[in-house]
Symmetry: C2
Subunit: 339 residues, 2 copies
Amino acid sequence: MQQITIKALARELNLSVSTISKALRDSHEISPATKSRVLQLAARLDYKPNPYASSLRGKKSRNIGIVIPEVADSFFSLAINGIDATVKEKGYHSIICLTHEDFKNEQAILKELQNGRVDGVLMSVSSETTSGKHIRALMEQHVPVVLFDRVLADVPAAKVITDDIASSYKATQHLLRNGCKRIAFIGLSQQLSISADRLRGYENALREHGNKLSSKHILTCTPDPKKNLAAIKKLLQQKDRPDGIVTAVEKLAPLVYQACGQLSLSIPQDVKLVCFSNLELAGLLNPSLTTVTQPAYEMGQKAAEILLRLLDSKPVHKGDMQIMIPSRLVERNSSGEGN
Amino acid sequence: MQQITIKALARELNLSVSTISKALRDSHEISPATKSRVLQLAARLDYKPNPYASSLRGKKSRNIGIVIPEVADSFFSLAINGIDATVKEKGYHSIICLTHEDFKNEQAILKELQNGRVDGVLMSVSSETTSGKHIRALMEQHVPVVLFDRVLADVPAAKVITDDIASSYKATQHLLRNGCKRIAFIGLSQQLSISADRLRGYENALREHGNKLSSKHILTCTPDPKKNLAAIKKLLQQKDRPDGIVTAVEKLAPLVYQACGQLSLSIPQDVKLVCFSNLELAGLLNPSLTTVTQPAYEMGQKAAEILLRLLDSKPVHKGDMQIMIPSRLVERNSSGEGN
DNA sequence: CTGAAAGCGCTAACAG
DNA sequence: CTGTTAGCGCTTTCAG
């Protein structure tokens, strides 16, 4: 890495380092003539500023951290696209940090991010996360944080979420209307905001439609797919077998298909299914999957916009402290009549 | 970002800055006693080294760049997982840069990465990329590059690929054996290594089985899904309609399903299909999709290992200049009898 | 309008 | 074993 430095430009033009620096930053105290000389040489020599030098000096990195559980997930990969497009426009880079749904990892990552590597953080917590202490610690180091999708109540950060309660309500209602009598809910950890809220929406719907809630119909999954598959099979083998299922996150959908396949239960005849999911291929599954499709790209975009305002120390309207972008129910065959 | 600096530690312990620095880096020239005092204070004050300062000083960032077309793709998201797991172990961070299959973006990104932000680059080229000049330019700045999956012949970098020709051959052969007479190939751009090689394998299989090649059965797609869908429909509407299809990349699979759906062609009765794809849900599609499944995670891992050796200036065995990890054909219903 | 000088936090000679 | 010093490349007072 032999760089062209400002010093080299200065020597070449018989100017001082500081003049070059100012010219490059288009300072008003430099004459147009010198500016253009500098700019031209810089272009000719293909000068590229050393990001570490300016970060060290200026105390900002123009990096933002994206802390998420996983990339191999449609929701998160779409959200990344939304974030990346937004921050790139302002000259920021995305550093993606994967927690793999592990709280210890998440803590370690946030701790590490206290070192100034990033100017701000966009984050969706792991399913194991129950406290926001590590996030608050980061914020206390003056690293602004915006949470999206999987948020935490005890963190005083801006949040971008979807209407989990309402859309889960709608999903459940949809199953009820299609004749389900015993609807199960499969979530991730209980303290995960999205899972809890989606459970709430489910419960509300059942209650309002006069269905009784049964703890036997509520399954809480882990990050381990094998255990989850076993648990789902167990759920589907109980005496009071569910005839409808709402799953809270994308990666549970395939497990339900598998479980039903192994138990020779057919979807939707025996079990109707609707999943929170951003799978592009939902329509091509067998049967096609009714989804609650989240505005993943938009959520990423919005969260990034808020973070950028924060980084600009522009005011964030109080309405932006909690933004809700609605999901939509896309009805397909997994919840239909099955004729 | 008010940091605890080495200076602060020095002041606190009445030691010099350099002693602290050496103690923290476990230098042999520091007494065990001082070391432990330093380490303890550092722990107590939660000292975190400023990465920019050491990058500026040491001319290395401990960042590696991952330059890929897209994250919302099973192959790439799995590869990211493999890369990230590997480099993290050695204390490196991943900076993911998305080209969105756009050559101009790719050029801009590589140019930008010449500024020292990353110590090395792992890369899979865009479908528009025809020349490796921009990559060579980066390498000339002494930024080591390892290409994976989508490689470029004219770049003298280590490459990690899968056995594209052979596995495409196998896929095509599989269709032939299952009775297909007119097999089409849908690729991305012609100069994309994986697409070209997979085309080659397809052609070899046809030729060896005495089938004639027809340019009408070879479709080259673009990054635009709408146009691709139209083109695929056209392919399937010609007089000599294909009764088998091999697609070269994952994102083409759903389009074939859609096209067949819209034309009321059934898979596999009318058209048998096998796709290069890492979709976890391939088995759940309707019909389940026969895939050539690439060793995405392993390829990422291997590419990262090679890059790490390069960064350590360890010798890279000549055998490692071109690593091939085989894909495997997973037969499912889309290429079967369709009973 | 231009330049000199200081310093961001850290590391590495080099002395002592 | 510890300290002094210089400097990575850049920005920013402050003087001229």
